[in-house]
Subunit: 239 residues, 6 copies
C-alpha cells in the first residue's frame, strides 16, 4: 500500500519523541484521530516502541468455523502473522475493541520478540499478560483476557487496512508507542513529522527547565516573547 | 466464498418465517450469535426482508483521504457497491457500530430499490432516514444520522467477510429481517433452516390459537403431551 | 414479602396518574431511584399499566444447562412464572439489562394476557415484539431481540427481590407504566402515593388549561401566588 | 456572543433544507462535529425546526440544594429559561447526556409553545413525553424519563456556551432539526450555508427524479458528467 | 447445589495452572463464557487464587431500607457472609457490574483473610483498596470506590446462584484467579479440567523453551509434527 | 461562591482521613454522590491530596475556534487557570468524561506544582502522564491521552460550578484524594466532616487491630456491644 521504508535514522529520531508531540503535529496538519483509543502498555517500558504496521484483521467468530482444531492448520492467519511480521515491524490487530477474549498469548508474542519484531498492538485482550509484560518487546492492549481468541475472534486477513481503537491503520504506517499510548503516523508524513518533532522535543526540554526554575508559562509555552526565543537559542547551542 | 444460490422457493419460505424461529434453530445447531445486535427497521414493513449478503467494509476515515471530492471517483467503493449489489441481494455494511455519521442516504438507497435489491443493513447511521423509510425496500440501521459517511467512515472493501452488529457476515449468507431485527443464516445451512422453520411456524400458529382459546403453555409449548401433538396434526391437516 | 393487596379503588386511581407525578412524590419522600431505566413500551397504549410485581430472576446462561430441551421440563421457572403470575399482577424480569437475547416471546405473553395479568416488564429483550405490541396487555422492554432466552439467560428464581433497569423491585410493589416508562412504588407507600398524586393530577390539569390560555408558569407552577390557589379551588369545585 | 439575527427569509430557506445537506456543507468547511448525537424527535413533524439557540446549562444535582421547594423560587433558572427564551428561538439544554431524569415536562414545554418559541432540544430526558409530542412545536430529546430534573440536574446558567450531545452550542447559533436529528450552524456561517444548501436541495430533487427513472448514480451524484449538468440546468429552468 | 468438595490435591494442581489454559479446556467442552469480565486483581500476587465459590447477591439499594444503622443488625447479609464464608472458599459478589460504590472495605476483607478464606471477587468496587492489596489473600474487583455499599447496593442473599461479571456462578464452583483474571469452573468439571490442564502446562513450558531457542510456532504449537511430539516426550521424561 | 477558607489545621486533619470515611459521613447527611466517578491517581502517592476547588470548564471544541494558535493568546483560559489557581488549591476540570484527548500535559502540571498548587483533577485525559506521575503534586485523571486538548476540548470558563465525573463541584469545595479516588466535600460541611472523620479513623485503627488479633466483626464494626466500646475507650486513652 506504501513503499515507504522507515530508515534507522528516522527510527532513532522517533525513539526520542513523545506521542504527545506527534499528536500535536498531526493535529496541525488536520489529522485529529491518530491516537489509538483504549489501548495501554502491558507494562511500562523505558524505550519507545517504533515500527511500521503489519496488520491482522479479526471478524466475530462463528462457532462452526472456530473449533480448537483450526490452529492445527499451518495457514491459520494468526499463526502466519506471527511468523511473517517482518523484523522491526509492529503487528497491529483489529479486534473490534472487544477484549472479552484474547487475540494472542505469551508464547506467540515471545516468538515475535525472538524474531525481532518491534512490538504488538491490539484493541482486544492478551492472555498470559504477565509473561508478555516481562518481554523487552513492548506490547499494547485493552486489558488481560484469558479466553482463547476463538471464543470471539476469527483471524481473517493479513496486511489489509484495518481499524484499531477507532483509528485507520494502513500497512506501512509508522506506529510510535510510549506510556501515554500509541500514535499512528501515515507513511507519507513519517519523515516530516520526525523532523519537526525532534525540534519540539528540544524546545519542551528547555521549557521544562525554565518552568522548574519558576518561569510562568504565558509567553513561554508557546513561545510568544522574543526574550524567551533568544533564551532557547542560547540553551540549544550549549547542548 | 460460497456458491450457494438462494432459490425462489426457499426465498418464499423465508418470507413466512420469523427471525425468532430462525434464532432458535441456529441455537440448536450451536450458533448463538447470528442476530445483528443494535439494528432496527427504519420503518416497519409488512413483508419480511430475505436475500443473500453483498458486503461493504468501512474503516475509520482519515481526514486527508476523505474529502468530498472522493465521490467524484467512479470507483469509490460505496458507489460501486450501490451499483453492483445484485438484484435480490441485501447490502450489508460494517460501520464498526459507529452511528455518529451516516453510511448512506436516501438517493443511494432509492437507487438500490430501483435496481431490485432486497434490502440494506448497516450497523451505522443512515441520513434522510424518513425518505428511506418510505421506500418499499426494507432498510435496517442503528439510528438516523445526518453527517456524511466521510466524517467517520472510509468505504474500503466490497464483498469480503465483515462484522455487522457483532455478527460475522460472509458474502452469500442469507439475511432475514423482520420487526425484531435481522438474522444471518450461514449459506450452508440456508436450505435446512428454511425447511425446519417452515414446520415450526405452522406449529406456533397452532399454539397461538390454542393459547388464545385458553390453553396453558405447559405441555403445549414445547409439545410434551401426546394429546397436543395429535391435536396439532388434526389442525395441520385441515389447513 | 409484603401482605399489601392493591384494591380495585387504588388501581382505578393509578389508572389516571402519570409516572411523572409518582416520581415527584417519591422524590419528595427521599426515593430517587424508582424509575426503571432503559425500558420503553413495546407499543404505546391508551391505558396506564397498573399492578403488583411478580418477579422472575435470570442469571447468565451456562451452555451445558440451557439446551432447548429444558423447556420440556414443566418446572422451568420461565414457564411456571407465565402460568402462575396472578391475574392483575405484572411480571417483572431481571435480565441484567442484557437485551442481546429475548426474555419471552409473543406466545408466552399472549398466555399471560389471556390469564388476566396486568402487564410484563423486562430490562432485556422480547422476541416477536410486533405480536406482543398488538395485545391489549401492556409490555415494556429494552428492545426487540430474536434469540431465545437460553442464549444468554437462565431463568432461576420466582418472586424474589430483583433488580430491573437499576431499580430494586420487591414482590408486591406496585408498578405503574405509561408512555414515559415504568415507576416502582414500594408496597407500604402505595396508598399514600395514590392519594396525593390524584390531587396533583387535578392541579396539573388546571395548570395546563391556564398555560394554554396564556398564563406564565412562575407563581402558577408550583403555585406560589394566592390568586392562583384561589382560582384553582374555584376550577376544582366546578368539575 | 453573536449579534447575528436570523431573518425571516433565511428561516424560510432553512425550512426547506435537510440536516443531511447542512452536514455536508459544514463538513466541506472543516466542521465535522455539528450533529447533536443521541437526540431524536419526540414525535415526527412535517415541518423542519429552525431557530437560534437560547441555552440552559445543568450540572449534577447535589441533594441538599435541590429539594422540591426550589421551584417556588421565581428565579429558578429552568423556569426563567422557559419564560425568557425569545419567540422564534430554540431552547437547548446541556444535561451531560444523562437521561436518567427529565429536563422538562409537558406543562413547561406547552408554555414555550404558547410563547412562540421555535423548539426545544435536550440531551437528557423529557417527562410527559406523549403530551410534548402532541404539540406543534418540535421537541428533540434522548428519551422519555419520568423523574423530575431535580433528581439528577441542577439548572445553573442561562445563555452561556454549552455542550449538547457532544456538540458545542453557542447562544445565537442556528439550530435546524428534522427527522434525522439536529444540526448546529455557527452564527457566522448561517447565511452562507442557507444559500448553498438551497441550491443543493434543488439538485438532489433532480437527482432523485433521475434515479427513480432508472439513472445510475455514478456520474450523476455527484455530477461529474457534462450531460447530467446540462440536464439539471434544463430541469431547474422549467421549475 | 453441589456436593463436590475440592480436595487439597486438586487445589495444589490448580495453583500451577493458568486461567488461559483453563479457558481453552472449557472452550473445548462448549463453555465459552466462564471468564469473569471486567475484573482485575487489586494487586498482583505470586500465588494463584483457588477456592470454591461462596456467594453474596446485592440488589440496588432503596434509600429507605439502607440507612447506616442496618450494619448494627447482626444478621446483615454482608456481615454474615464475611463471617460464614468457609476457610478455603472464595467470596463472590454480584454487584450488577456497578462499581460506583464499594461492596466491601479493608476491615471486612482483613477479617476474611484472618478466617482463612481463599479470596474475594466482586464485579463492583472495593474501598480502602490499598489496604486490601497489601493482604496476602487475593482480591479481584472492578475498581476502587470510596462510597459505602449502602449507596448503591443492598446485600440480600447468601449462597444462591449469581451473576458476576456476566458469568453464572453457582455455590461450590471452583474459582481460579491469576493476573489475567478469574475463571469459573463448574463443580462437575473441576477434577477433569485440573487433570487435563496440568498436562497442558507442562507442554507449554516445553514450547516456551523451544520458542526461546528459536523454534517457529507452526507445527509446534499446537503440536502437529511428529518430531516435536517426540522432542516433548524426551523433555518431559528428563524433568 | 463560598467564603469558606480551609485552615491549615483542618487541612492537616484531612491529610489523615480516608476518602472512604468521608463518603460514609456525607452519606449519613444525605449526600450520596460526592465521589468523582471514573478518576484514578496518575501514580500512587503516600500523601493524601487536600485542597479547595478552583475550576476550569471545557466544552466540545469547534474546529474553527481551536487552531494551535489559540495558545499564543495570553488569555487562553487553560493557561490562565494554570497561572491563577491559588497555592494550596486543586484545579478541577470538567472535560465531560471524554478522555479521547488530553486536558493538560506535564509542562503545565509542573508549573502548577512549582506554584504550590495542591493537585489537579480531570475527568478527561492527561498527556505526558509519566512525567506528571513523577511530580510530588498528586494528579487524578481518567487515563493517559496523547492528543492535544484542542482536539476535543475548548477551555471556556474559570471558577464556575462544574460537573466532574458526575459530581457537582463548586469553587471552594474541599477535595480530598487518596488511592481510592477523590471526594468532594461541600464547603459548608468541611469543618464538621473533618471533625467527625478524625474520630472514625481512630476507631477503625482500633478495629483493624482487633480483627488482626482474631475478633469477629459482628458487634465490633459497627460497635454494638458495650464491651467493645469500653475496649476502644481504653485503647484510645493509651495512645
Amino acid at each position: 500500500m506504501t513503499d515507504y521504508i522507515l530508515s534507522e535514522a528516522t527510527r532513532a529520531k522517533y525513539k526520542r519523541i513523545s506521542t504527545a508531540s506527534i499528536a500535536t503535529q498531526l493535529y496541525k496538519r488536520g489529522l485529529r484521530n491518530q491516537f489509538i483509543q483504549g489501548v495501554v502498555p502491558v507494562s511500562p517500558k523505558l524505550e519507545t516502541m517504533v515500527g511500521q504496521a503489519f496488520t491482522l484483521r479479526y471478524i466475530p467468530a462463528r462457532e462452526d468455523r472456530n473449533g480448537l482444531e483450526v490452529f492445527r492448520n499451518a495457514d491459520h492467519p494468526q499463526r502466519v502473522a506471527v511468523e511473517t511480521c517482518p523484523p522491526g515491524h509492529v503487528l497491529v490487530m483489529d479486534a473490534r475493541k472487544d477484549a472479552s477474549a484474547a487475540t494472542a498469548g505469551s508464547i506467540l508474542v515471545t516468538r515475535m520478540a525472538i524474531r525481532g519484531c518491534a512490538g504488538i498492538v491490539t484493541d482486544g485482550g492478551l492472555r498470559d499478560a504477565t509473561g508478555i509484560g516481562q518481554l523487552d518487546m513492548p506490547a499494547f492492549y485493552s486489558r488481560p483476557s484469558a479466553p482463547t481468541n476463538l471464543t470471539k475472534h476469527e483471524a481473517l486477513d493479513i496486511n489489509v487496512p484495518i481499524a484499531c481503537g477507532d483509528v485507520a491503520v494502513f500497512p506501512g504506517d509508522v506506529l510510535v508507542g510510549d506510556n501515554d499510548g500509541v500514535m499512528v503516523i501515515p507513511a507519507h508524513l513519517a519523515e516530516e513529522i520526525a523532523e519537526v518533532c525532534a525540534g519540539m522535543e528540544a524546545f519542551e526540554a528547555f521549557v521544562l527547565e525554565e518552568v522548574l526554575a519558576g518561569a510562568p508559562i504565558i509567553g513561554l509555552y508557546p513561545c510568544t516573547k522574543d526574550e524567551n526565543e533568544k533564551k532557547f537559542e542560547e540553551w540549544h547551542q550549549k547542548r
